[in-house]
Symmetry: C2
Subunit: 204 residues, 2 copies
DNA sequence: CGACATTGGGTAGTGCCACTCTCTAGTGTT
DNA sequence: AACACTAGAGAGTGGCACTACCCAATGTCG
């Protein structure tokens, strides 16, 4: 298939496909001449994945490239792929102070062990610091309940990883890590809406 | 206090404070002359809140303005404020198709009742559709467990709303809705990291 | 064979966003 | 009187994700 069909199949403008090719988000097609290349079904899939990462996943082109690099690299371990996905996710760059102590204390209470420079740990510390600065520091009890719910989810995310091939597992981990985030946030909002409707039935 | 001290106290460049004033994210100070205005402690707080919403909260200036409008409006009900916050959050604009049927079925299974045009519902449907397009559609079982965990969190978010004044409750709801999202995402990633370390100890 | 559309590849332009700079006229301070 | 600072507003900046255009080469159809 040629680029115009590839673009049509994936629902992306041709110019944008070319852009993704240039940026290395999509592998080049098989050249059949100086001005022809052949693309396959896997390119359609890849293009859809790219669009999902950039749109709903909320990744920038640069971060998507890093995520896809982990998916592509054949010698990644599953744990390393998860780390790569976490590193590629937007997580409040190391700007400003962060409430690392509180974040570490929370982990200790739950018995979680993570890398000392885990990007997720830094993101948590930054988010806690932002809440503090905004004058809305959450209580430990609230954080613990959040952590308990998050623990259940993370546990199941990892349990659901397929055991077939490493490559398949890596793709699963990376895609689900990124694309289930909007699902989780949407579900939280829906739960809030339902609970709010019940607690504040009319005009409170 | 003058603008330079306000900027220093909040850790924001003077030019940026002026920009926020122009954009209506921060209320104007009390004019004491043609080229002087006085700012108070509440301006420092507001500025910190704005920075938290724009940075860790991940809101655009336009969305932050909408969120803050709900906080400022004195006649908002708590439920309406939550709706305003949800509407202001980035939730995958109504572009492309969405898996509304699956989203509605999920809500039905949990017994949640939400507005038919709830932005969170649309966000969920769009996220599910993105997963499907990326060839990584989650199982119903996984979604249900996500929803159960999210339900616990949403329940507690609403339960934690203070009952003092409506204005206080509105601010609490809006700030927590936005700023606890990065906390939840970070906790999920940390739980994944811990679980992954346990399941894939070495190089799997 | 020749007219015509299409392609790969590259460069440059677009629109948006969140600032950031600069300017003007005015004000408080020394 | 000299100077630093201010409010307010317009213009400029840099980054990003495209998007439009151009070229020579190629395939296709009559």
């Amino acid at each position: 298939m040629q680029i115009s069909e590839l673009a049509r199949r994936a629902g992306v403008p041709v110019a944008t496909v070319k852009y993704y090719l240039r940026e290395g988000l999509v592998p080049p097609g098989e050249l059949t001449g100086a001005t022809r290349a052949r693309y396959g079904e896997e390119h359609v899939q890849r293009l859809r994945l790219v669009r999902a990462l950039l749109g709903p996943g909320g990744l920038s082109v640069a971060r998507a490239r890093a995520v896809l690099a982990a998916v592509d690299s054949p010698d990644t371990s599953v744990h390393a792929a998860l780390g790569a996905a976490h590193r590629a996710l937007p997580g409040v760059g190391s700007e400003g102070p962060a409430d690392l102590d509180r974040a570490r204390a929370l982990l200790r209470r739950r018995g979680w062990r993570v890398a000392g420079d885990s990007p997720a740990l830094i993101a948590l510390a930054a988010a806690l610091e932002a809440l503090r600065a905004a004058g809305a520091a959450p209580t430990d009890a609230l954080l613990d309940r959040y952590a308990e719910a998050a623990g259940r989810i993370g546990e199941q995310d990892v349990a659901a990883v397929p055991t077939g091939s490493v490559a398949e597992a890596v793709r699963f981990v990376v895609v689900n890590t990124v694309l289930l985030e909007p699902v989780l946030l949407a579900l939280r909002r829906l739960a809030q809406e339902d609970a709010s409707r019940r607690r504040f039935p009319d005009n409170c």
